[in-house]
């Protein structure tokens, strides 16, 4: 297994290299300068700025300069937040997103799996229909609709939770719940579908024929097998949920990394964009690897080749 981990980490290097290259070149080839303002900047000043940020000369030269820094772990300076390095911004915002994300992720697993299992057991009964309708809504209603609605009810009308901000424990609940909603719904649907398939299999019939209590059949035998697609889903999902969400973080004013994915591109902040894309890719690679390892642990049929 160590060989596999080692090999996969080695493979990650060219992947990350390509990702960063494409991001940087795309951002730099967009029209407009990171330093333009409404008022025209004198030519000399513009040139000096580009020089200070290593954004002068040909795009090939700029790329070379940047990759040289990245190879040393230096993600360069943000052109938007002028006194900060990209490393510094990520170091400050990523833990915030991960705090919120890990709670949302935990919530999604904690609620999604039992809901799905419960629905599968009551297959085609009213409870199943009701929960699956709820899950369908959870998947289809985007968070920029669900979050403001929840804010309106829970925060503004009933004054139960704060509408906005970061810094006290009650401020994490509403955003974490909103962030977890679509994931909970997906996991519930996946669990139900997978469990229904498994419950039809021969080994379940055998278990029931042996007279095992239904609870043991369900939790001891069926769910163990049915969990595999959920592992497959939740690995990459973790990468997404832990690196923040622009919608949730903007709406709730959470100082996380999520908004940088979009805003840095809008601001033409090439190093920031490349930096956050690099972080996201790293997470994705790591969690995919973790997923594969989990597969191996849970399902003995899986060979780590």
């Amino acid at each position: 297994m160590m060989a596999l981990i080692f090999r996969r980490l080695l493979q990650a290097i060219p992947v990350l290299f390509i990702v960063v290259t494409l991001t940087f070149l795309l951002v730099r080839s967009a029209p407009g300068s990171p330093f333009s303002t409404e008022k025209k900047v004198p030519k000399e000043i513009m040139e000096e700025l580009e020089k200070q940020y290593d954004l002068h000369g040909t795009i090939g030269h700029q790329y070379e300069q940047y990759m040289g820094k990245v190879a040393h772990g230096n993600l360069s300076l943000s052109t938007q937040y002028r006194n900060r390095t990209v490393n510094e911004i990520i170091a400050q915002t990523l833990p915030v997103s991960m705090t919120l994300g890990s709670l949302a992720y935990f919530l999604a697993l904690l609620c999604g799996i039992p809901i799905g299992a419960w629905a599968a057991v009551r297959h085609n009964q009213a409870g199943d229909r009701f929960l699956m309708l709820g899950a369908l809504l959870g998947i289809s209603i985007p968070s920029f609709v669900s979050a403001p609605l929840l804010v309106m009810w829970l925060a503004l009308s009933w004054n139960l939770l704060p509408a906005y901000g970061w810094g006290s424990p009650d401020q994490i609940l509403l955003p974490a719940f909103c962030l977890s909603l679509p994931f909970t719904a997906s996991i519930a649907r996946l669990t139900r579908g997978s469990l229904l398939e498994v419950l039809k299999l021969d080994f379940i019939r055998t278990a029931r024929a042996k007279g095992l209590p239904e609870k043991t059949v369900l939790f001891g035998h069926a769910l163990k097998v049915a969990i595999l697609p959920i592992i497959g889903y939740s690995g990459p999902a973790a990468a997404g949920i832990l690196t923040g969400s622009i919608v949730i973080e903007t709406l709730f004013g959470i100082p996380g990394i999520g908004p940088f994915f979009v805003n840095s591109a809008l601001n033409h902040d090439p190093f920031m964009t490349s930096g956050v894309v690099l972080v996201f890719s790293l997470f994705l690679i790591l969690f995919n690897l973790l997923t594969d390892i989990l597969y191996f642990v849970v399902d003995r049929r899986v060979k780590l080749a």
Partner: protein
């Protein structure tokens, strides 16, 4: 059976490990800094976007400007009414030729680390602002000084030839190229603030961080977390007492979130009008917390006068005459913005604007027919550029509809571009016509009128008239303010009545939300500047 139960226990263990890992993960980031509790503040305010920097020489935006004015102070500053008053300088004299200012610094003024502030601090800070290596985008505000431009563009290396001298510790002598009526307004701007050069030398780029920044304004920088908050604390070394001990400044990207925060009493003051949802303005206009004031900024349309059909002044005039501006401010902006017939907003001291072109569809149709497009027939395909943010798309769409309604033009297309791309297209003048805006740098018509001289980088219309350029030169040599304002009036008449390279649409209003019994020392004013050092909490003063 044995295998099965061992696998059950394995699954259980695995689940437990996973759950544990998630909890640990959470706890880890919780303590690593994903979570912080700031010190309690006496006043919380929403300040618009996250400041890009707090370095006074680098600042370009309004949110940065407001925070930096709380941390630093120039030779002059403003009172709550927006009027220029003495700041670091106690007094000044102006030479009879209106070219040399001699400032005398306030006695006993100190940096927040206790060191005295001298006129050399100003001299060296201005050198830093002008120095091309600082790459300050606003350094042109120092081009008014003798040789300022030459030094700022690197043509002159010797700063001693620039028009600023410090004969002793508390005197600063400034020599200008031309008489500049609004120079004392410029000295309130961040680019002319003194900065503590020793700490910049020591900390480099990090000097703007809490604990490292040395200031001279009413507040010091206590804490600053990106996109989270800035905590300011009263500066005990400031030359006068500061009424509020701690101010918490919140950055907010989403106007809705910002309003929610105010509505649930988590913030006391919303300053930036971009932080107030425009769709709500209509509903909250009559509330006791809603405050509006005229503000020196104008939204207007630029024509590219080198492109057909806008090379024809009759077409430009027709479009200007047929634009129902009232419809735009009543339907879209809705904050009580006055419609604009001129570029210079009303309220510039001593200035009487020309009457401009008012809404007149008959005359517009006549001009359009004369130009060869009766009832809009045969009008070529043209594209209007606008920035794809806030309510610009609605404004552009409404204009398109209005010109179709009143002039029968059906060939106007819209092109929304993301902000920085839009700025680039506009600077390259690669558009037919564009929706634009301008915020005055100081309270004087010149900040609006000088951008349409032929070579001005902000002209962006391809329009130019030597007579217009000469009038601007004449204005700086004018005898007295009355004559100067008369010249400006003639210039503006040429701009908005005769040649029409631009169509003014509406003047801005500054909006702020606060309960007057919770926030004191905040007065609506024309420059929309509200010094935080003069804010107080009523009843606590």
């Amino acid at each position: 059976m044995g295998g099965s139960s061992s696998r059950v226990s394995r699954t259980l263990t695995l689940t437990a490990i996973l759950a544990g890992a998630v909890v640990l993960f959470f706890a880890f980031f919780f303590f690593l800094g994903g979570w912080t509790l700031s010190a309690p503040a006496d006043l919380t305010l929403s300040n618009g976007a996250e400041p890009q920097t707090l370095d006074p020489a680098i600042i370009t935006g309004e949110p940065e400007l407001r925070v930096s004015q709380a941390l630093f102070e120039g030779l002059t500053t403003r009172n709550t009414k927006g009027t220029v008053i003495p700041g670091m300088a106690a007094s000044w004299t102006l030479s009879p030729d209106n070219l040399t200012y001699t400032f005398t610094l306030r006695p006993g003024i100190k940096w927040s680390n206790g060191e005295p502030i001298t006129s050399y601090d100003f001299l060296n800070s201005w050198e830093r602002s002008l120095n091309p290596l600082t790459a300050s985008q606003y350094s042109y505000q120092l081009y008014y000084l003798v040789n300022g431009e030459a030094y700022g563009t690197g043509k002159l290396r010797d700063f001693s030839q620039v028009g600023v001298k410090a004969p002793d510790d508390h005197t600063l002598v400034v020599t200008l190229n031309h008489p500049t009526a609004y120079f004392l307004e410029l000295t309130t701007l961040p680019i002319l603030f003194p900065v503590h050069l020793a700490s910049i030398k020591k900390y480099g780029r990090d000097w703007t961080k809490p604990g490292k920044m040395v200031c001279n304004g009413p507040y010091i920088l206590k804490e600053w977390r990106l996109n989270d908050y800035i905590l300011l604390e009263a500066n005990p070394d400031y030359w006068q007492p500061v009424p509020i001990h701690r101010i918490k400044v919140l950055p907010t990207d989403s106007p809705t979130a910002c309003f929610n925060l105010f509505y649930s009493h988590k913030t006391d003051l919303i300053i930036d009008k971009t932080s107030i949802p425009t769709e709500l303005v209509q509903d909250i206009r009559d509330k006791p917390y809603f405050h509006a004031n005229p503000f020196g900024a104008t939204t207007f349309v630029r024509f590219n006068v080198k492109r057909k059909p806008f090379d024809d002044v009759r077409v430009r005039k027709a479009l200007a005459l047929a634009l129902d501006k009232k419809d735009i401010v009543e339907k879209i902006t809705r904050a009580g913005e006055p419609v604009a017939a001129t570029l210079v907003p009303p309220g510039s001291a001593g200035y009487t604007p020309p009457s401009g072109l008012s809404y007149n569809v008959t005359e517009a149709r006549r001009l359009l027919a004369e130009a060869g497009y009766p009832n809009g027939q045969g009008f070529p395909d043209v594209t209007m550029l606008y920035p794809a943010r806030s309510n610009w798309v609605q404004i552009a769409t409404e204009m398109q509809a209005l010109w179709r309604r009143d002039l029968g033009i059906t060939s106007i297309h819209l092109s929304g571009q993301e902000w920085r791309v839009y700025l680039n297209t506009q600077q390259l003048i690669d558009f037919d016509f564009a929706v634009s805006d301008w915020i005055g740098d100081y309270n004087d018509p010149q900040t609006f009128l000088d951008m349409f001289t032929t070579d001005n980088g902000n002209n962006e219309t391809n329009w130019g008239n030597p007579q217009y350029d000469q009038m601007l030169v004449a204005s700086s040599a004018a005898h007295g303010p009355a004559q100067r304002m008369k010249i400006f009036q003639d210039m503006e008449k040429m701009l908005v009545e005769d040649e029409v390279p631009i169509v003014p649409v509406y003047f801005w209003v500054g909006l702020s939300l606060y309960y007057p019994d919770r926030v004191g020392g905040f007065e609506p004013n024309f420059v929309d500047e509200h010094p935080w050092g003069q804010l107080y909490i009523p009843g606590k003063k």
